[in-house]
């Protein structure tokens, strides 16, 4: 069995950034396994602009952003296997993949970076009553068909869900000559970025109906229309508010789910809120030497943050391999003191979920999302019962990931802290 120091599962933005960072941190033997026929992942179909402001200080399209990282990986001569689908990973870090050229191959990794991304929630999960005709697409599937393959998926469109891909596709379909009649959102707020509502819906006069959902799909062979209804605070349709929209296409942008079949298969603990693995401040899962980053860890809004997070995973993997090689030779790092992070009072989750305050880097970025739209709220950080920081935010929304940065030095007065709490507060 072939052995590699670091195997990266996925050649999308997370995998590429992890590979580049691992190389920079001194890892020599890296292999990227990508199931598609090209690197870049979902960025290849995100042909709109708005990527890279944070990473490259300029506004790029998805393929351009991907190409920067692909170039880094190529320049570093990091080997990639394309069309290579990983089918299993064991706790002992044996990876089995299948490809056309190589058949079924099992390799041994010293460290693994999970970067498989996420998938879209399908229609079935919504249990929309009615027929099951052609013309129902998840927004990302439509995006691929339109942007990478040059096809037309529909002429009169209703979009359910105001996630970013749905908003982007509302504009894209409009520019391609389709009539986007309405975007319906179950929640009383949009799941997408504000800027996308402005430049994808408002610019084109596409109405956004909050607290609305599709209650019936019409048409036996191809979609002929949908019935929308308003929903109450319980998110159940309000009888009498039904409204029929004729359309030949229904796009769904109703959420993304991290793709963690392999992660579960190897027995890593999962966080039910993120649907991703639980990780520590080095983004290591509870399977030693297995790291996770990007949308497989938790769904991001911005690829820039994926790249940043993935770089940390790549560096951590490189450090892990190095530490293993040097085990016995060098002085072991001080015994850790892992502290749990707790999300509370409007904060739905944090990544990471634990932090080793003795061995942490100088700063650790903790990312989180809130569970509702809050105006003029504080984000507070507590070490045990001690308030450490409080920052006022004009708006907090579930569609936008937030972060706090914890400094290593801030723990000096609290060497025995048991719990770090991140919560929202009104006053």
């Amino acid at each position: 069995m072939k052995t590699h120091d670091i195997v990266i599962i996925g050649g999308g933005p997370a995998g590429l950034a992890a590979a580049a960072a691992a190389r920079k941190a001194g890892a020599e033997d890296i292999l990227i396994l990508e199931r598609d026929q090209m690197l870049g992942g979902i960025l290849n179909q995100c042909i709109h602009n708005g990527f890279g402001l944070h990473t490259f200080k300029e506004e790029l399209t998805g393929p351009e952003y991907a190409s920067r990282f692909i170039r880094m990986v190529e320049e570093e001569q990091i080997p990639c296997r394309l069309n290579a689908m990983v089918v299993s990973i064991t706790k002992d870090k044996e990876i089995t993949y299948v490809s056309r050229e190589e058949g079924l191959v099992t390799i041994q990794a010293k460290a693994i970076v999970l970067a498989m991304g996420c998938r879209e929630r399908p229609r079935g999960a919504l249990n929309i009553p009615g027929y099951r005709p052609a013309g129902i697409f998840s927004a990302g599937t439509a995006q691929r068909l339109v942007n990478m393959e040059g096809y037309h998926v529909g002429r009169e469109v209703v979009i359910l869900g105001s996630g970013d891909i749905g908003l982007i596709m509302a504009r894209r379909m409009t520019l391609e000559g389709a009539k986007v009649k309405v975007v319906a959102e179950l929640m009383p707020y949009s799941g997408g970025l504000k800027r996308n509502i402005v430049q994808c819906l408002d610019d084109y006069g596409i109405p956004l109906k909050l607290s609305h959902t599709v209650v019936e799909i019409h048409g036996r062979r191809r979609v002929e229309g949908v019935t929308l209804a308003q929903v109450g605070p319980d998110r159940k349709p309000i009888p009498g508010t039904e409204e029929y929209y004729s359309c030949d296409t229904l796009l769904l942008s109703v959420g993304l789910i991290p793709e963690n079949e392999l992660t579960r298969g190897m027995g890593a603990s999962m966080n039910p809120v993120t649907s991703g693995p639980r990780v520590n401040d080095r983004l290591e899962t509870d399977v030693e030497g297995v790291f996770a980053c990007g949308n497989v860890l938790h769904v991001h809004d911005l690829v820039d943050f994926v790249s940043e997070e993935a770089a940390l995973a790549g560096e951590s993997a490189a450090a892990f391999v190095k530490a293993q090689e040097e085990a016995g030779k060098a002085a072991a790092e001080p015994e850790g003191h892992a502290v749990c992070l707790q999300a509370e009072n409007g904060v739905r989750y944090t990544v990471p979920q634990t932090l080793d305050i003795r061995n942490m880097r100088d700063t650790v970025t903790v990312r989180f999302r809130v569970g509702d739209v809050f105006k003029d709220r504080y984000v507070a950080v507590y070490y045990d019962d001690q308030l450490i920081s409080r920052r006022k935010k004009k708006v907090l929304a579930p569609g936008e990931m937030e972060q706090v940065v914890l400094k290593k030095e801030s723990f000096l007065p609290y060497p025995d802290v048991k719990k770090i709490t991140i919560r929202t507060e009104v006053e």
Partner: protein
């Protein structure tokens, strides 16, 4: 005095901004950076957008190549730009940054490729 409420599209922060216009005098509040103020001023005087789309490619490994206007174009010109995009075909290979249409729809802005499309072997 005219007042407009805007959401900044300069970056994903999406700052809510208030723009007051008094003749030529424009004041912006709520922005967190200079880009926000610049965007707000432009948005209330001559709004512009970058247009992204894709163009048919002949003889490439992919049937289409993604494109963008190299700079932002007036909002009012978006449909003219799209018409040019729909009427244009290019031959593979195409590289990132290649100018595929010069001075697209009279905007003075070029249309450039945003990905590589190799020629089919």
């Amino acid at each position: 005095m005219e007042r407009r409420e805007l959401i900044c599209i300069g970056c994903p922060m999406g700052c809510p901004m208030t723009v007051d216009m008094e003749g030529d005098e424009i004041t912006v509040k709520g922005n967190h950076c200079a880009r926000g103020a610049a965007y707000a001023k432009k948005e209330v005087t001559s709004p512009t957008r970058i247009v992204t789309s894709s163009i048919r490619v002949d003889g490439g490994v992919m049937p289409v190549v993604s494109v963008k206007t190299k700079q932002d174009v007036p909002k009012g010109a978006i449909w003219d730009v799209m018409q040019v995009i729909h009427q244009t075909r290019v031959k593979a290979p195409v590289s990132i940054g290649d100018v595929l249409v010069q001075d697209c729809a009279g905007t003075g802005v070029d249309l450039v490729a945003t990905r590589n499309v190799a020629a089919k072997a």
